[in-house]
């Protein structure tokens, strides 16, 4: 199985809609203005949050985010033949890793391995 963190546009940049929780945690970034700035924030995100699986970065045109309606955060499980098996509700309310875990446990590949 492959896991990818898809880094997309920021949810609460300082120039648009700052959350007090981000101020408290000093997670303060302005909206990236180009691909390089986006990569810089993505690097900080991966490093500080300790994300262990590979991160891929959506283009500045947000094509992948738009295709998947991924903003502000969302989980997907894609089957081995390329079909959507699980799609969470939109974050933050719908971002539920336990539901994803349940969907993963139902995969034929996982059940067969038990």
């Amino acid at each position: 199985m492959a896991f990818y963190a898809v880094y997309i546009l920021e949810a609460h940049p300082t120039d648009i809609w700052t959350m007090q929780s981000n101020v408290k945690d000093n997670v303060l970034f302005a909206s990236p203005k180009n691909d390089q700035e986006r990569e810089n924030v993505a690097n900080a995100c991966v490093r500080k949050l300790g994300i262990k699986f590979p991160a891929i970065v959506d283009g500045f045109d947000n094509t992948t985010e738009k295709a998947y309606t991924g903003w502000p955060d969302r989980l997907y499980l894609i089957s081995s033949d390329g079909k959507v098996l699980y799609k969470s509700k939109p974050g933050p309310f719908g971002f539920k890793p336990d539901q994803l875990e349940g969907a993963i446990k139902k995969l034929p590949e996982v059940r067969a391995a038990k």
Partner: protein, 105 residues
């Protein structure tokens, strides 16, 4: 203190209902705009105002998206953060894939 007349109560109730409905329409519209536009609207909305709306229900409807369970996952080709490779979803056929969309803030 003088008890307000029935007419006054009705007028106040109607005004509050119209204000609430207008707020509902505004937020529902904003949720269906691109993220940056949504954020620019929401930055002017005080946090307590969220509690007078069924915010989560509206959000789930606004962000339901076009891809549904059972659909073919849209293909993409994106670089890894370390630029060591390009990841193409269609090239990963043969194994399940988990995608975690998100950002830092």
């Amino acid at each position: 203190m003088r008890k307000p007349s029935r007419k006054t109560v009705v007028v106040v109730a109607v005004v509050l209902l119209v204000l609430w409905g207008s707020f509902l329409v505004l937020i529902n519209w904003a949720m269906r705009q691109p993220p940056e536009m949504f954020g620019r609207v929401m930055m002017h909305v005080p946090m307590p105002a969220f509690f007078v709306l069924p915010f989560e229900t509206l959000w789930n409807q606004a962000r339901v998206g076009t891809v549904q369970v059972g659909d073919a996952a849209p293909d993409f080709r994106l670089p890894t953060l370390d630029h060591k490779e390009q990841v193409e979803l269609s090239a990963l056929r043969g194994k399940p894939v988990v995608l975690v969309f998100g950002s830092y803030t």
